[in-house]
């Protein structure tokens, strides 16, 4: 077994292409109050949204950069383009045929048409700052399910947006949530009426496609009483040498008895900073699941959280991360037990390849008087290669004696003995490493719909290409 010769991960980045797009409007780099007013005006937004954006801007300017987590010192906010408007007519009745050819070409390369044909229930693809295509299957429309890009959602249902927007993640929450509030564009807006169970997953794909373009999508999902939905987003990002910033905000509200699963598969290009705030609220007997895979990017900081606000609520957080050379995945999850008899389960699995670093960062909080809460945390880290790093930061704030908290953590290295064993059965060194890595992630793969499991496998293999010589 020879020492693995490293090549830059981006060399084989399958999604590192760039199709030609025309922009109707492309803001100059940098952020000013005027730009924010301009964005809001171009989007014909209500006054209250402009106020929110300006509040976000003020918070952003005064908030310090986080001093913990990943190294963000290379981000230059003055170099980033905060708003782009692709050149096509928006039309909420668009079908796939109406999508411009060069965009189709783009989607084809990330496998969208298949996903669309196979189990499309509604698709909302974000192309840079705007959604180009949004469609909802007739049956659900009849049941009152709303699924739009966020801009359209705001236009069509300003009352619902106003009621929930920023309630879980106010602009003052952190510097990047503030930035998102100031310049957000696109993202998904979903409302599922009481009792409606959406059988097939709703899907959206995102990508950053212009040099230095920030991507600041804003997603708001409200699942009403006893309703059910599964939302999936997949992300890829093309090749550029300069740093791009992705800073999304996602708010999920699960009303009494509702079930909401949010699945993310991300494979950002290795220059992207991926700094995302995701938070949800689970009312009485509601269940919220965050399923999160973070691959690629230069640095990711993301800790999906669930605020367990009603008795009997359950949170499930699955955080999977793979870090290649010079990448840092600082990920995990938070469960805040703010009602009695609430339960949470956090499963974190990470793989650091040679020269990569994964950090698990998680918080379990139980408020005083919140009796009989239970939480299970399981963190497994696999290190592959001599310079792989992995660390864990499990925070616990347990203020009630009746809480039952279980925490298990394992760290393992891909052992020479395991590799020898598999190779003695005829597997090549690369096959053997893949076998071990996919085995490690098997449990997670099983939670994904078939098409996404296939895509996920491909993403992980792509990550491995940079580390298997």
């Amino acid at each position: 077994m020879s020492d693995t010769q490293l090549k830059p991960a981006n060399q084989d980045y399958e999604y590192g292409w760039h199709s030609e797009h025309r922009y109707k409007f492309k803001a100059p780099p940098g952020l000013t109050e005027d730009l924010i007013k301009d964005i809001s005006k171009r989007k014909e937004e209500p006054e209250w949204m402009l106020e929110k954006r300006l509040e976000g801007f003020r918070e952003f300017m005064q908030k310090p950069m986080p001093t913990w987590g990943a190294d963000l010192s290379a981000i230059d906010f003055n170099e980033i383009i905060y708003y782009l408007q692709p050149d096509y007519q928006k039309n909420k009745n668009q079908t796939w045929d109406d999508v411009p050819d060069d965009l189709k070409e783009t989607f084809e390369r990330i496998g969208i048409p298949e996903a669309e044909r196979k189990f499309l229930a509604g698709v909302s693809n974000q192309f840079d700052s705007e959604s180009v295509y949004s469609k909802l299957k007739g049956a659900w429309e009849e049941k009152g399910v709303l699924f739009f890009d966020m801009d359209t959602g705001l236009k069509e249902h300003p009352d619902i947006v106003k009621e929930y927007f920023g309630t879980l993640i106010p602009a003052s929450d952190n510097k990047f949530a503030a930035l998102n509030t100031a310049v957000w564009s696109g993202g998904s807006f979903i409302y599922v009426p009481p009792g409606v169970k959406v059988g097939l997953p709703l899907q959206a794909y995102f990508r950053i496609n212009a040099e230095n373009a920030g991507q600041f999508e804003r997603t708001l999902i409200i699942v009403d009483k006893d309703a059910e939905v599964h939302y999936i987003e997949g992300c890829t990002s093309p090749s550029y040498s300069t740093n791009a910033l992705h800073s999304a905000v996602v708010e999920l509200i699960a009303h009494e008895g509702a079930t909401l699963r949010y699945t993310t598969l991300q494979n950002w290009y290795s220059s992207v900073y991926n700094l995302v705030t995701k938070r949800s609220k689970a009312e009485k007997n509601a269940r919220v699941e965050w399923i999160d895979y973070n691959g690629g990017s230069k640095a990711t900081m993301k800790y999906p959280s669930v605020y367990l606000a009603g008795e009997g609520a359950h949170a499930e957080i699955v955080s999977i991360a793979t870090a290649n050379k010079d990448q840092h995945q600082d990920t995990g999850g938070k469960a805040i037990h703010a009602a009695p008899n609430t339960t949470s389960k956090v499963t974190a699995k990470s793989i650091s390849f040679d020269g990569g670093r994964t950090s698990y960062r998680g918080l379990i909080k139980v408020y005083p008087g919140m009796e009989n809460c239970k939480s299970d945390i399981e963190c497994d880290a696999l290190m592959m290669g001599p310079n792989a790093e992995s660390d864990t930061y499990p925070y616990m704030e347990i203020e009630d004696d009746t809480a039952q908290i279980e925490h298990e953590a394992t760290v393992s290295k891909i052992g020479e003995e395991q590799l020898f064993y598999l190779m003695s059965r005829g597997l090549t060194e690369e096959q053997a490493k893949r076998t071990i890595v996919h085995g490690f992630l098997d449990e997670f793969e099983r939670t994904l719909p078939m098409e996404y499991a296939v895509e996920f496998n491909r993403l992980v293999d792509l990550q491995m290409e940079g580390s298997v010589g």
Partner: protein
């Protein structure tokens, strides 16, 4: 293929010296094995038996300092373990690794396709696997378990036998396959080997104890001490060890305990 180097034998080991990491262990091993033959290497702990098995299969923790190993006409010394497997060499491990999340059937199909340079479909392989498992009287559920994960000692050894059955090697090396097994488990595993044996296949059994040899009936028995083969004989040699232990042979060759 030059007959001068491997003398036409399936496995030909000549003047082999080597060890684990920096420690020299083997001090000159000569051995030849052919199809249809059962050879047994016996020796006390630390005699170098398992080192020989690991060097044969290409464990990267072990090294060769001198000598050659030929298998089916090919020089093994520099080949990767997977290349040796493709030539038809199989090692049943003393301590098989556990690989979480990898199901037996998926793994076995990958291994089969790799060793046989084939690409059998899931369905076709499932049938093949079922037949092999029936032959070995193994429960169907075994195929969907994760590779060796949480297996008992006996189950791990049976897993090795199933792998051997699927890969159909030309030469099977059994490294202390009998260790840690109670008498029933030992019998089951030994019977598996006998079922898999065929006139083309050679078997090299490495063991401390004679008991597995009651089932496997070796044609040739060797005694290894301090990195050398110090005595050769037939099945009677194993019986002699059973009666007398290893001390008489130490005395005979003039080695201290």
């Amino acid at each position: 293929m030059s007959d001068t180097k491997h003398n036409g034998n399936m496995l030909e080991i000549k003047g082999l010296k080597g060890g684990v990491e920096d420690t020299p262990i083997l001090r000159g091993i000569d051995l030849s094995v052919n199809g249809g033959e059962v050879h047994a290497i016996m020796g006390p702990n630390g005699s170098g038996k398992s080192t020989l098995a690991n060097i044969l299969m290409g464990n990267p923790r072990f090294h060769i300092s001198e000598g050659e190993m030929y298998f089916r006409g090919e020089l093994l010394n520099e080949l990767e373990p997977d290349e040796r497997a493709r030539l038809g060499l199989f090692l049943a491990f003393q301590y098989p690794s556990e690989i979480p999340g990898v199901s037996m059937d998926k793994f076995l199909r990958d291994a089969y396709n790799s060793v046989k340079q084939d690409s059998v479909s899931v369905g076709k392989f499932a049938k093949k696997l079922r037949k092999k498992m029936d032959d070995l009287e193994m429960d169907e559920s075994f195929a969907s378990r994760y590779l060796n994960e949480g297996f008992s000692g006996g189950e791990k050894k049976r897993s090795e036998m199933l792998q051997m059955a699927v890969l159909e090697p030309k030469l099977a090396v059994l490294d202390e396959t009998d260790s840690g097994l109670d008498i029933d488990a030992l019998r089951i595993v030994a019977e598996s080997v006998n079922k898999l044996k065929n006139p083309e296949m050679g078997v090299l059994v490495i063991t401390h104890y004679q008991r597995i040899l009651q089932y496997l009936e070796p044609d040739y028995v060797y005694i290894m001490l301090q990195g050398r083969i110090v005595e050769k004989g037939g099945p009677e040699l194993a019986e002699k060890l059973e009666d007398k232990g290893y001390d008489w042979i130490r005395e005979k060759v003039g080695l201290e305990g």
